[in-house]
Amino acid sequence: MKSAELIRVENLRAGYTGPVTGPVSFTVEEGHIIGLGGPNGSGKSTLLRAITGAARVFSGDIKKAPHTLITHHWQRPELPPELALLGRELFSLLGADPDKSSERIDSLLNMPLNRMSGGQFQFLQTAACLAGPANLVLLDEPTNNLDANAIGELSRLLDNHDSHRSVIVVSHEKPFLEKHCERIIELS
């Protein structure tokens, strides 16, 4: 791996009981935002899960730089119906700094999860990943469930990102990927 590379994926085929994605190769350098596009079932989420070890690698390789710290925002995160955990407490789990996040977060920090909408919870989780110490953030369909204002805030968070932090974004919304990503990898 080159020194600026955080992760190198080589000829990867990954899945669960059998391969559902790949072969695919790419690298992610420090500070870069990479988009993953492609139709439903092309294995975008599976590729992220292969990087985190939640999906099985059938062939190929994933190399991570030793100092890589990863957080992964899952697609459609389940909102626990009766958990009184505050937004602030969720942030602190990842060591995330609310001051590094958006103003929209302020109203969610002292709100328990059981009073949040699905969109608010999704935005909170995404913001926590981006405001934490991780230098590789994986975002799986982060614009799902978000209204236009929240998507705007998410865009601002991505644009203001730390120069050492890299992001891999999976999205169906090609304009969103084109606006924020240095490169877009299309899975077929």
């Binding site: 626990p80 958990l83 009184a84 789990l93 328990p112 059981n114």
Partner: protein, 268 residues
């Protein structure tokens, strides 16, 4: 005079043991609820009760057989964690039927079956107390570390594997805590009263306050208060402790709909 019965040395061991268990069970119940595994407490406690009855029938210490059965149940659960509540339902069906069948076909088993399913706090001894004290000290010593890890796993399920951080340590420790809480609860206050203590306090506590730590603290407060009311009432009114505890916890559960009612009225 009845009021002095509470200060009788005979009741000290059961009282302190039950109080320790009330605190630990209602606290662990909060974590089971957070993980959506609240039914596991009843499933494992039923299997544990069956193990305890089998121990009595075989002439082996019942705590050992109860622990063995509970560990086996927890192990089977972990083989396929995605099956969730269906595994626990099968444990309840098996555990209850096995306990009753074993009890019905052995001489001492009948008494033991009644004891472990319904609960007989007054007949426990110092060994239970030592176990309960060790359990509460261990729980308090690791709860902060364990809580953070279990919450991360709940909200960011692949955080540990993504960063090559071993997750087996917190998983095993939590499983051990659950198993020993269930076993001590089952052999001390009974399978069903233990389940009620795991389930009701967080079921109420999680909706009436905001914040993770506060909701756990309120759950423990509810559990201990319900226990104190039950213990004193059972002794003074000569009532069976286990069923009374379940009834008192049921009455505490009424706080939940009352809370929603007051909240809605306040809004309008």
């Amino acid at each position: 005079m009845k009021e002095f019965i509470l200060f009788d040395p005979l009741f000290r061991v059961p009282f302190i043991t039950g109080l320790c268990l009330a605190a630990v069970l209602s606290l662990i119940g909060g974590f089971l609820k957070m993980r959506d595994e609240w039914l596991s407490a009843l499933g494992i406690s039923q299997v544990s009760a069956a193990g305890a009855v089998a121990g009595v029938a075989l002439g082996v210490p019942s705590v050992l057989t109860a622990v063995g059965a509970a560990v086996a149940a927890a192990f089977i659960k972990d083989i396929n964690p995605k099956s969730g509540n269906s595994h626990y339902a099968m444990m309840i069906i098996f555990g209850w039927s096995a306990a009753i069948m074993l009890a019905a076909n052995t001489h001492h088993g009948e008494v033991a079956g009644e004891t472990f399913l319904r609960g007989q706090l007054y007949f426990i001894h110092e060994g239970h107390l030592v176990g309960a004290i060790i359990l509460i000290i261990f729980t308090l010593a690791i709860i902060k570390w364990l809580s953070r890890r279990l919450l991360i796993e709940r909200f960011f399920p692949d955080y540990f594997s993504a960063n090559n951080i071993p997750s087996f340590s917190h998983r095993i420790i939590f499983a051990v805590l659950v198993v020993f809480s269930v076993v001590l609860g089952t052999v001390s206050i009974g399978a069903f009263p233990s389940f009620a203590m795991f389930f009701v306090p967080p079921w109420v506590g999680f909706v009436i306050v905001e914040g993770w730590k506060k909701s756990l603290a309120v759950s423990v407060l509810i559990g201990c208060t319900a226990y104190l009311i039950s213990f004193v009432t059972a002794v003074l009114a000569d009532q069976p402790f286990g069923p009374l505890l379940m009834l008192v916890l049921f009455l505490f559960s009424m706080i939940r709909p009352l809370f929603y009612l007051v909240k809605n009225v306040w809004k309008t």
